[in-house]
Amino acid sequence: MSRPLVRLLGQGVRAATALRGGGSAFPGLLMEKLHPGFVAEQLARLPHGVVVVSGTNGKTTTKMAVQLLESQGLKVFTNRTGSNFVRGVAAALLREISLTGRFDADIAVLELDEAHAVHFVREVKPRFALLLNVMRDQLDRFGEIDTTRRMLAQVAAATTEAVVLNREDPRIASLADDVQPGTDVYWYGLSEHLRPMFPSDDDMRAVDGPVTAAAGGQPAPQALVELTDFEATDVEFLVHGQPAHANVHLYGVYNVYNAAGALALALTVTDDGRNVPKSDAGLASLLDELARVTPAFGRGETIMIDGAPLQLLLVKNPAGFRLSLASAKPEAYATMIAINDEYADGRDVSWLWDVEFESLRTGGVDLVTGTRAWDMALRLDYDQVPVHAVEPDLTESLHRFIAAAEGRPMRVFCTYTAMLSLRRALRAVAEVPEI
């Protein structure tokens, strides 16, 4: 088959699977089989290259980075669906390319998980990379946190122009040693007094507080963007050492910190000398745009049910779960926890024992659900958190939870596949955006 025909075939399959409401990666899988170099060829045509974002909570950060670059007038191609495999990128490409084969974008910002990023950078050398953190949620897929770090090292080494690194994650910070000579390294970080708020998984049981990149005795490198303070939606940064204020309407303190990463990336990409177009308003326009970012699917997404808000909060590692719990007063909410152990969630639920649930003691938990509901109930029992009901069936639980909330705002902490199921079930009772 000729190449345009292969592409048209892929686009047809994509349209058909979209109508069926089906998986977003299948048409990409087809393209991978019929035309293996498709993704690399298309991305090579982009005038300003490819940006790779990798790390836990990469989706919201990617969304922020895309919006920030769009605010500068760039046409940005991204893999929005959360299908972050190479074939997911291929599927996203099929949607963007016109039927005549025109790919109308200036730059690509792609969120890739660590293992797929390794495959991806073999085919496509990114011009920029933003590497966020190494957390434990990939533990039973990759075996060790240090394995995850080695994967990201390959991404850092393949990046041709600049990498932006999280200064406060020791494994990410050490990636500065892996970049090629000639590739710039920029940092985003936390002020000293905020650091204790963001424990890494290494610090969970460390008594001396977080281990920082500077712990080895070397002074911490100066951050391009440093998060210095925040209260509610008011966020203070130091950008190039100068104070800057922004509003960030995202749930969870880790999202505020990731905003610092996205901002550092946008500043790096549009830095003078890179010949990437940007708004005359520069930094001010980027800070304005941050206020317009809404959460990516499941990352603090709010769905209205008969006038009452229900928040879906994705949890996948101890640090993230802890921060989500700390982001609001639990007594003010009806609370449900949904823990699945499918492959995409991670089969191992040991990590739940490294989350502290004492903050839920006063308000209790209305429902515990998911394949590992009983594990979760057992965990809460050992933290003396009252659990009102345990129901492994997600749909059944959701209906009971909504009924029992009696108008209280609702929070649901859920693992990845539990969230997918709950979103489907929510469609019966509320308007849920397509993903």
Binding site: L139, D348, R379, Y382
Partner: protein, 264 residues
């Protein structure tokens, strides 16, 4: 799967016999020592410590909890020791420190002090760990076993059967392959999963009152029989009796049923 839903208005086991002591601490103190929590903490090992602590408190014992990290002065008066798994880098630091406290640990073992060593610490409680690269990390030889680095990790849900403790349920994630010496008693026989080396059908090791295993999940919350065995041993040594009030383990029983039925 649908299940009839019990209601737990407050604590699920309120009204059970353990309420008798009302967590007064009046039964005396037990000194619980967590080994290397800073370096060996990555598979929910806190769950084991928490389970021991809570189950002691429910029986009316007060718990003195000590974290022992490399370089600390060693709490040789501990009644019960527990330690977990870590990254390779953490394992190296721990290995060096273990050599220093080796004599006192051996003495405690001879005295019948109960210990639980999971995963990385289990390996270091053997003779040695030989990495794929050929590097040899010396262990402290409490167990008669050696571990060699394997090409593939053994990862997934695991069920084993022990004559003493019944069915043991957990999750394994290790690349080290552990071979038991001729006289070394295993903790259990593998029913499903890989176990010590994925071949000989054994899992873990038991020497005197020391239990070594690859299982986390965490291990003790879902295996209350093991937890209570460790507790009873500690209580017997300190207070010359080993009567433990039964606790309501209905939640653990349900979690065990589910875990045993999940895919690898």
């Amino acid at each position: 799967m649908t299940t009839t839903t019990p209601m737990f208005p407050t604590a699920p086991d309120s009204g059970a016999p353990e309420a008798h002591f009302a967590e007064s601490g009046g039964q005396g103190e037990i000194h619980l020592v967590q080994l290397y929590p800073r370096d060996m903490n990555i598979y929910g090992d806190w769950g084991n410590t928490l389970t021991l602590k809570r189950r002691l408190e429910k029986r009316g014992y007060s718990v003195k909890l000590t974290d022992y990290n490399p370089g600390d002065s060693f709490p040789a008066d501990g009644d019960l020791f527990v330690g977990g798994g870590g990254q390779d880098s953490g394992q190296f630091r721990v290995m060096e420190d273990l050599q220093k406290i080796k004599p006192v640990l051996h003495e405690l073992v001879r005295d019948g002090v109960p210990m639980l060593a999971i995963c990385g610490l289990y390996q270091l409680f053997g003779h040695e760990f030989r990495t794929i690269a050929g590097q040899v990390l010396p262990g402290i030889g409490i167990f008669d076993l050696t571990t060699v680095g394997g090409e593939t990790r053994l990862i997934g849900n695991i069920v084993t059967e022990s004559e003493t403790f019944g069915t043991i349920i957990g999750y394994e994630n290790h690349s080290g392959l552990t071979r038991l010496g001729d006289g070394q008693e295993p903790l259990g026989r593998v029913v499903s999963g890989a176990g010590n080396d994925g071949e000989d059908g054994t899992e873990g090791a038991v020497t005197r009152e020391v239990i070594g295993t690859y299982l986390h999940g965490s291990l003790l919350p879902k295996n209350p029989v093991l937890a209570d065995h460790l507790i009873a041993t500690a209580v017997r040594r300190r207070y010359s009796h080993d009567h433990l009030e039964p606790l309501n383990d209905a939640l653990a029983a349900r979690a065990r049923e589910v875990a045993a039925a999940r895919p690898r």
